[in-house]
């Protein structure tokens, strides 16, 4: 389908595809097998300016938005969600600075991020706080010109590999979620270390680690927005990045469809290529239709974010929810279409299926997305009836 991309948007899509095909596809199996961080690919993305896509031109970026980012993420996800996660988590970690950072903070960090010289990670989740942001136990205590951080963040994408971390910590225990604040912490700060690298079902090329803060002293200037704004920073960040998770879903679903189609045309059973059987045709037709619908929703949500709309929570949650549920279904069915071959590591679809699962979990489980959407519906309905 034609989504009326501009010439520049087509350029971005083509370039991301070229990197996916030339740099990612040849190594994805090995990266997955060895759980190896894709530094070579990050270097290629940096050289291609793709890290600067959504960063304003005045800070060394290209001044594009969530939509262009989604196009790039989709193409990378077609090849490998592990690689795409590494790239997308960088954007996730950057949003707090981009949305709430002071000009000084932006000048200090964004140019290196745009050039791909420094990778970013976002630290929200903890052992007792995931879906429930109120359960955060990492603390930041004001101490003269400094804050002192204590606590452990869990399952942090790009942990250990990133140079810059945007982290949510509690500055006022008495105020619950309103007592949280956002900080930027640089790798190498004394008292800041990393836990073990997690071993995962999928997206094994991406790095997932604990961030450990033990009396970690950071300058006061490292606070993002004001004290107490941490929860807002986190929610707005996720609002912006969830469309990107949707784009990952669209990408991996499309990648799986492409593989299943190719296979079904070649595989012969009962004297015919299996694609000639209606059972297979209908599966493929459903897979393609659902993926196209997901793409349309993700693109619409991303364009809505870029329009400067005030409240994008519902739109981005819907895009994430729908596209990643589709991704799980489509990759599972791609394995089914390919039968025994699909289950073997010789073909890439088993990895796509393993990779797709995380999309329903991270940046808010799809159950949480439904909560978010439902809350928006209730709010809207209540406002409408009040207005009557």
């Amino acid at each position: 389908m034609d989504y009326f991309l501009s010439e520049e948007q087509l350029m971005i899509k083509d370039l991301a595809r070229q990197i996916a095909v030339e740099k990612v596809v040849p190594v994805r199996e090995e990266l997955d097998e060895k759980e190896e961080f894709p530094w070579e690919i990050m270097k290629a993305l940096a050289q291609s300016d793709l890290f600067g896509l959504f960063i304003p031109e005045q800070y060394g970026g290209l001044g594009k938005g969530a939509f262009e980012l989604a196009l790039a993420v989709e193409e990378l996800s077609k090849a490998c969600v592990g690689v795409a996660t590494t790239y997308a988590a960088n954007a996730l970690g950057t949003y707090p600075l981009l949305l709430f950072g002071t000009d000084e903070q932006k000048k200090k960090y964004l140019p290196d991020i745009a050039a791909g010289k420094k990778l970013v990670a976002f630290g929200l989740t903890e052992a007792n706080a995931g879906s429930d942001a109120g359960g955060i136990q990492t603390t930041a205590r004001a101490d003269g010109d400094h804050y002192v951080l204590n606590g452990t963040k869990q399952w942090i994408t790009n942990g250990g590999e990133a140079e810059i971390y945007t982290v949510i910590a509690i500055t006022d225990k008495t105020r619950g979620a309103r007592g949280a604040s956002a900080f930027v912490v640089e790798k190498g700060t004394p008292g800041f270390s990393f836990g073990k690298k997690e071993r995962k079902m999928g997206i094994r090329a991406s790095a997932t680690r604990e961030l450990v803060f033990e009396d970690c002293k950071i300058p006061k200037a490292n606070i993002i927005a004001r004290e107490g704004m941490g929860f807002i920073v986190a929610m707005k960040t996720l609002d912006n990045s969830r469309a990107g998770v949707g784009a990952q879903g669209v990408g991996v679903a499309q990648g799986a469809i492409d593989e299943a189609l190719k296979f079904a045309r070649q595989r012969v059973q009962f004297g015919h290529p299996i694609i000639s059987f209606q059972a297979i045709q209908h599966m493929l037709a459903d897979m393609a239709t659902e993926t196209e619908a997901a793409r349309a929703l993700v693109y619409a949500a991303a364009r809505y974010i870029d329009s400067g709309a005030k409240d994008v929570t519902r739109a981005s949650a819907m895009a994430k929810l729908f596209a990643t549920d589709v991704a799980m279904r489509v990759t599972t069915n791609a394995v089914q279409v390919m039968g025994g071959s699909g289950y073997m590591k010789e073909y890439p679809v088993e990895k796509m299926m393993r990779d797709a699962k995380i999309l329903q979990i991270y940046e808010g489980t799809n159950q949480i997305q439904r909560n978010v959407i439902a809350q928006a519906l209730i709010k809207e309905s209540a406002a409408a009836s009040k207005g009557k």
Binding site: E7, M11, E22, K23, A44, Q47, S48, D49, L53, L62
Partner: protein
């Protein structure tokens, strides 16, 4: 510091097929690409520029000779980060062999000016590896062939390792100098977005026969000592046998052959 990279747009010869019945080349659907070795030349120029840093005021110019559609190869080079592009074009240049091509390219380089000239070691359609050294001779400058490593550029000297048949030589040459590069030298980068945007806009400088100060007799077919007399496919070996029958029988035929040749 000014670096000129000579590139050639070639048909992707690995995609060319031969019609088994007529022996004719089948060109249909074969894409035009930048000669793969020239991609390494472009990468070499860009990494020299990056290493020298902005203080060296280094610029990279890409040069090609060819029909007007060769412009797309130049634009692709710009998308990697090349600063300028020059196209030598005109129907007088058609049919040039390596000598005529080298003469035209060297005249263009004299006009552009260069401290370092970088060429791929050879083009995949011609596979002659002659244009680089011939350009150096026309310009009366030194050259280093088959460079697999550039160890350094300091003052007016370049130091490089050139591949030999059974090892390598470490060679120093005075600038201006021409080098031809092999694929072991580097890994070509992908285009960048900023490069792609620049490639759309860049104005390509065009040079014709008159600009180069070359006479019609010296250019293209007229200026070429060598001429293709005929083209043909190699003939079959006589006395060929085919191993028939089951796989078992075919393998036995191979073993019999190996024994007859005393290879078992």
């Amino acid at each position: 510091m000014r670096i000129v990279v000579c590139i050639k747009q070639v048909p992707d010869t690995s995609e060319v097929k031969i019609n088994p019945e007529t022996g004719a080349l089948v060109r249909e659907g074969v894409p035009s690409i930048i000669n793969p070795f020239d991609m390494h030349a472009i990468e070499a120029a860009l990494s020299i520029k990056e290493q020298l840093g902005s203080s060296a005021a280094c610029s990279v110019c890409v040069l090609t000779m060819g029909p007007p559609q060769a412009e797309s190869a130049l634009r692709e080079a710009v998308s990697f980060g090349v600063d300028e592009a020059v196209l030598v074009s005109g129907r007088e240049f058609a049919g040039g062999d390596t000598l005529a091509t080298s003469r035209a390219l060297s005249a263009a380089i004299s006009k552009i000016g260069a401290d370092i000239i970088i060429c791929g070691k050879q083009a995949i359609d011609g596979d002659t590896a002659q244009v680089g050294p011939e350009v150096a001779e026309f310009l009366d400058i030194p050259h280093i062939s088959y460079v697999k490593k550039i160890s350094g550029i300091s003052g007016a000297v370049i130091r490089a390792e050139r591949m030999m048949d059974d090892g390598h030589d470490v060679v120093e040459a005075e600038l201006p100098c021409l080098i031809t590069v092999v694929r072991e030298l580097n890994t070509p980068r992908l285009p960048s977005l900023k490069g792609k945007m620049a490639a759309k806009k860049i104005e390509i400088k065009k040079l014709g026969l008159a600009d180069l100060g070359i006479s019609e007799e010296e250019a293209g077919f007229k200026g070429s000592p060598t001429q293709v007399k005929k083209i043909f496919t190699p003939s079959a070996r006589t006395g060929r046998r085919m191993a028939e029958g089951s796989i078992e029988e075919q393998v036995d035929a191979i073993i019999k052959e190996l024994m007859e040749r005393k290879c078992l």
